[in-house]
C-alpha cells in the first residue's frame, strides 16, 4: 500500500490507483481501486482455473512438466498480489534493497536444496 498524509477529500480520478498520495501530490481514488481489484480478481480466477486444468491435463508421464507449468502460473498470481495489491511496483528503494537480499538468500536456499537432491549420501535409506 502507500505512504501516508492522506488528503481529506478525493481529488480527480486517476486511471491507475496512485501510490504515495500526499507525499507525491496525488490522491487516492476509491473507484479506481474498485476497478483494479475487479481486474486482479478476474485474473486470479483465470490463473487458478488454469492451474487446476494443468493439474488434471494429460501431459505425458511424470509430474515434472506439470509442476513447472503450475508454478509458473502461481508466479503470475504472486506478481499480481505483490505488485498491485502490495504496491511493490511503486515502492521506495530501501524496500527493494531489503527484498533483494531476501531474494538472493531464498534463491540460494532453493539452489542448495535442488543441488542436494541430486546427491544423497551413499547408503541413504528412504522409507
Amino acid at each position: 500500500m502507500s505512504d501516508t498524509k492522506a488528503n481529506s477529500a478525493p481529488a480527480a480520478p486517476s486511471p491507475v490507483p496512485t501510490h504515495a498520495p500526499a507525499a507525491e501530490g496525488h490522491a487516492v481514488n476509491l473507484h479506481s481501486y474498485f476497478r483494479l481489484c475487479a481486474v486482479v480478481f478476474v485474473i486470479v480466477l483465470c490463473t487458478t482455473s488454469a492451474m487446476i486444468a494443468t493439474s488434471f491435463a494429460h501431459l505425458g508421464e511424470g509430474w515434472t512438466l506439470k509442476v513447472a507449468l503450475i508454478l509458473a502460473i502461481a508466479v503470475i498470481n504472486a506478481f499480481l498480489v505483490a505488485g498491485y495489491l502490495m504496491h511493490l511496483l511503486s515502492e521506495k528503494k530501501l524496500v527493494y534493497t531489503v527484498l533483494a537480499f531476501t531474494v538472493v538468500f531464498f534463491i540460494g536456499l532453493m539452489g542448495l536444496t535442488v543441488w542436494a537432491t541430486n546427491g544423497f549420501p551413499p547408503g541413504t535409506v528412504s522409507h
Binding site: T4, C37, F120, S126
Partner: protein, 267 residues
C-alpha cells in the same frame, strides 16, 4: 514521549518506521516458509517411486479457500483506500468482510483437518490394507487386546502403493462401501495425521503454520476494526498507517497460500 515517524516518512529511509519494520519482518517470514518449502522439495524427491501421494486433498475446498483469501486481500486493500479518502463507514464494511472471509477460510481448513483425522489406513493381518473414513468403533474396541470392531467407509487394496495416487483410474473407479473389521484382524491402525507419512507431516506443518498466520492476522485486523479503531477519531493518519501495515502482512499470507495451494493440492 512521542514515537517518531509514525506518520511522516523518515528523511533517510523515505518511509515511516512501521512500514520499514513490516517489510523487514516479511523478509524474515519469506525465509521461514522458504525453509519449509525446501523441506517439502527434499521429502518429495526423496520419496520412493510411487510413494508420494497425489489427490489426497480436496481440490474444490482448496480452490474455494484460494478465492476466499484473494477476496480478503482485496477487501483489505479497499479498507485502506477507504481510510485514505476518509470514509470510515466503508473502512468498517471492508474490514468486516476481511474478518468474515478469514474466519470462513479457517472453518474450511478445520473441516479438512478433521477429514484427515477420521481417515484411517488399516494394515490387516492377511497382508492387505483397508482404507477409509471412520464410521464407528465398537464400545469395547481395544486394538492391544484384540477385542471389538471398527467400521470404515472405504475399500480394501492388495498393495499400499494403490493408496498413494487417488487420481489413478483404478482409484477413481473404486467402489467405497462400509466394512466392519475385527480388531483381531488388524495389525496396525493409523489415521492420516501428521505422523502418518512425510506428506501428511509437511502438509500439516506448512498449512498449520499458515493457519496460525491467518489467525494472528485476523486477531490484529479484528482489533483494528473494533477497539483499535478509536484512534481514527484522534489520529486518522496514524490509524491509516496501521491499516496499511496490517494489510501488507495479510497480503503476504495470501502470497504464501498462492504457492501452498498448487504445491499441496494440485501436484
Amino acid at each position: 514521549m512521542e514515537i517518531p515517524y509514525t506518520i511522516e516518512n523518515r528523511p533517510d529511509t523515505g518511509i515511516y518506521n512501521a512500514k520499514l519494520g513490516i517489510w523487514l519482518f516479511l523478509a524474515s517470514e519469506v525465509m521461514l516458509f522458504g525453509g519449509l518449502f525446501s523441506a517439502y522439495v527434499l521429502l518429495r524427491v526423496g520419496a520412493e517411486p510411487g510413494m508420494w501421494p497425489h489427490g489426497w486433498l480436496n481440490v474444490t475446498l482448496g480452490t474455494i479457500n484460494t478465492l476466499l483469501l484473494a477476496l480478503s486481500a482485496i477487501t483489505t486493500l479497499l479498507a485502506w483506500a477507504a481510510c485514505k479518502v476518509r470514509d470510515f463507514g466503508k473502512f468498517k464494511f471492508f474490514h468486516a468482510c476481511t474478518i468474515l472471509l478469514a474466519l470462513t477460510f479457517l472453518g474450511i481448513k478445520s473441516y479438512e483437518y478433521h477429514d484427515k483425522w477420521i481417515h484411517y489406513e488399516i494394515a490387516l493381518a492377511n497382508g492387505k490394507f483397508a482404507d477409509g473414513h471412520l464410521v464407528e468403533k465398537s464400545a469395547d474396541f481395544d486394538l492391544a487386546k484384540k477385542i471389538g470392531t471398527v467400521t470404515i467407509h472405504g475399500r480394501f487394496v492388495e498393495d499400499r502403493k494403490e493408496l498413494m495416487d487417488l487420481r489413478s483410474p483404478e482409484a477413481q473407479s473404486a467402489k467405497l462401501e462400509e466394512h466392519t473389521i475385527a480388531a483381531a484382524d488388524i495389525k496396525k491402525l493409523e489415521n492420516y495425521g501428521p505422523k502418518h507419512n512425510t506428506f501428511t507431516a509437511i502438509y500439516f506443518t506448512l498449512t498449520g503454520l499458515h493457519a496460525l498466520h491467518i489467525l494472528g492476522g485476523t486477531l490484529v485486523i479484528a482489533y483494528l476494526w473494533g477497539p483499535g479503531s478509536r484512534m481514527w477519531r484522534r489520529d486518522p493518519e496514524r490509524f491509516t498507517n496501521r491499516i496499511e501495515v496490517s494489510g501488507l502482512f495479510w497480503h503476504f499470507v495470501d502470497l504464501v497460500w498462492i504457492f501452498l495451494f498448487p504445491v499441496l493440492y494440485l501436484t
